[in-house]
């Protein structure tokens, strides 16, 4: 008697395209996925527990490690959260610097996405092109704060140091250098026939599903929902800047497919460059730090602050209790929900598509596991 059986494949945590330590349990019928179950937690470091033990300032370096590809954005979100909780007014120059850094980091993060996405669908070369440009942004970060990955540059009440002399010119140079490169990416990868065929209509995420599963950021926008926290609830100087919100258009198939998620990020990089240029033009001289006590004792209060990170909505829920460290600090990572939604979109696809979907959601595990 012949008998057929479902094949259970354990994908990850050691797998080249699970972006760290994501583990997926795939039940497959041949190559077609019947059921997918994400398992997370391999990178759980208990950051939320640590937050209850250290004081508000000391927690800043830990935010670097929430999402190591976008440390600046995590710094930024945490700093803003505590400032709002305290009611601290941040000097204008510091606000501009923070926005520039966040947007630069957004570009850097999306470049890693671009590269690893290409690699996951089998084109190795874009990875090195993406990293080549990212290197430039890292040079800029290094010049500003001495670090290349975990910056710890922002602090509650501003930024740690003012920009070094000549930095703004270098930043402008980078913008001029970077913008034409996007055309190069289009030539190399985006409009490649195989690439478009591989991604069009694959892993379609409808706006309803995206909202139901709490998907945010570029993934939600790719589904056609023009939601950007920088526009809706602006923090720092975002309300004074002009930029568009790119949404999915279904260029290679349906709205909300892998290709849209890719395209939205590419367009976002262009918008980030636009924001950086405006900031460089508008940035005033002046202080970069507000006067903040060494040990913050915040009276009983609470805040839920959300920031637009490269991967989506990063939320900080801080409950203060009058002591130097928070009573409870909960981090809502965008990747947490973005991984959850895989359960929904993977069934029915092939193993090769699963890789493309994981890559297109651009999840990062430290943010999910914390």
């Amino acid at each position: 008697m012949l008998e057929t059986q479902e094949l259970v494949i354990n994908m990850g945590p050691q797998h080249p395209s699970t972006h760290g330590v994501l583990r997926l349990l795939l039940h497959t019928d041949g190559e077609i996925i019947v059921e997918a179950q994400p398992h997370v937690g391999y990178l759980h470091r208990g950051i939320e527990k640590i937050a209850e033990k250290v004081n508000y300032h000391q927690f800043m370096p830990y935010t670097d490690r929430i999402d190591y590809l976008a440390s600046m954005n995590c710094n930024h979100a945490y700093a803003c959260a505590v400032e709002r909780l305290m009611g601290i007014e941040v000097p204008e120059r510091a606000q501009f610097i923070r926005v520039i850094m966040s947007e630069l980091n957004r570009i850097a993060s999306h470049l890693v996405f671009f590269g690893s996405f290409g690699m996951d669908v089998g084109a190795f070369t874009p990875f090195l092109y993406g990293l080549r440009e990212r290197e430039r942004t890292l040079d800029l970060f290094e010049a500003a704060c001495g670090q290349r990955l975990t910056y710890n540059y922002m602090k509650i009440g501003g930024v740690r140091w003012d920009l070094p002399p000549g930095w703004t010119d270098k930043c402008r140079e980078f913008c001029d250098y970077f913008e034409p490169k996007i055309q190069e990416y289009h030539d190399l990868l985006t409009y490649n026939y195989i690439f478009m065929k591989r991604l069009g209509n694959i892993g379609v995420l409808t706006p309803e599903d995206a909202l139901a599963y709490g998907v945010t950021g570029p993934n939600l926008r790719a589904s056609g929902v023009a939601y950007d926290i920088r526009k809706e609830e602006p923090y720092d100087v975002y309300d004074r800047l002009e930029f568009d919100i790119p949404v999915g258009t279904g260029e290679a198939g349906a709205v909300g497919d892998c290709f849209d998620r890719y395209m939205v990020r590419i367009k976002e990089m262009q918008q980030s460059v636009r924001i950086i240029r405006q900031c460089l033009d508008m940035m005033p001289e002046g202080d970069v730090q507000a006067r903040v006590p060494r040990v913050l004792k915040i009276p009983p209060k609470e805040i839920y602050f959300r920031a637009e990170n490269p991967r989506g909505e990063l939320g900080f829920y801080i409950v203060a209790n009058g002591k130097p460290s928070p009573e409870r600090l909960k981090i809502r990572g965008a990747s947490f929900s973005n991984i959850h939604v895989m359960e929904k979109i993977l069934p029915g696809l092939m193993v090769a598509d699963a890789v493309a979907v994981i890559a297109s959601l651009d999840v990062i595990l430290p943010e999910c596991d914390r």
């Binding site: 494949i9 080249p16 996951d120 669908v121 084109a123 190795f124 490649n192 195989i194 591989r198």
Partner: protein, 363 residues
Amino acid sequence: MDQLTKLFYSLGLSPYYGIFVAAFLLAVIILAFALLYEGVATYVERKVAGDIQSRIGPNRVGPYGTLQWLADGVKLFLKEDFIPAQADKLIFRIAPYFVFVGSFLPFAALPLWDRFVPVPMNIGLLYIIAVTAMVTPGIVLAGWGSNNKWALLGGMRSAAQLISYEVPNAVALLIPVLIAGTLNLDEIVRAQGGGGGILRWFIFHDPFSFMAFFIFFTAGLAECNRTPFDLPEAESELVAGYSVEYSAIRYAFFYMGEYGDMFIISAMASAAFLGGWQLPLIDPLVKIGWLKAVLQLGIFLTKTLLLVLVMMWIRWTFPRLRVDQLMELSWKRLLPIALFLLMGAALWTVVFHGKGIYDLIVG
């Protein structure tokens, strides 16, 4: 082969032993050549990749990193040959040999220069197609024997892929056979010489053979498991596919098999479509026999290696297809086109009495 046997015979060896000694010698020469080619090819591949990806590539071992392949080879030889505890040990062990042998046997039937094929046979082309098929069971066995689900998926993909692409591959190759009227590779190459220069090459023989070249080359890419058809190993999907559990020299066998396949496919393309060792002006100008042979060998290798270079170029530029797209491409696109071309070429041969475009215009 025959010449060698005769040589030994004249030296006093009995014909019975002579054949064995000659075969052994020939095998050693071919193997040495193949290994050397593989070393150079890996180095070139990495340099080409480096160039395409705006980085340097190997540059530490030897001048410009030219000895890198030796270092890699030594490393692969010295590493532990690890066999997983749960693997089917016999199958796991023999699988690499299938791949290795399958990609080296064809070397014996390549037309190297005028009237010289290492092992002359009048069905050379058929022989090459037949023995390259040995790669398939090797890969399937590797996937099965590893007792690893990724390897199994890789093996399944490879079985489907290689078998599917053999078909358009062989059909496209039938067109030069049709034109030349023989399966003997040496005669096929010779039929592409004479007045008219490169216009006598079969790729320019008629519109059908022109297209057949590209069909053959595309299907050939899939035969060697190269990007965009590298699904059986698909690093980002299947980790390393069928070779995931292999290490050391057994892994190197797969690796060398891939490069061997690339060479064979390119050599076939250049012999059947691009005139093999033919190049205009060599024939009338060079009169010394041995010099001519060397030049012809050089020409043949140049054409072949240029095609190998194109394969590398493609690898570092394209993304990978999906399984269903791969099958669709083979059965719904390449095969019907190849069959159509075959019929067209057959009609052409009948209507124009086997004359090519050049003959029609000039003659």
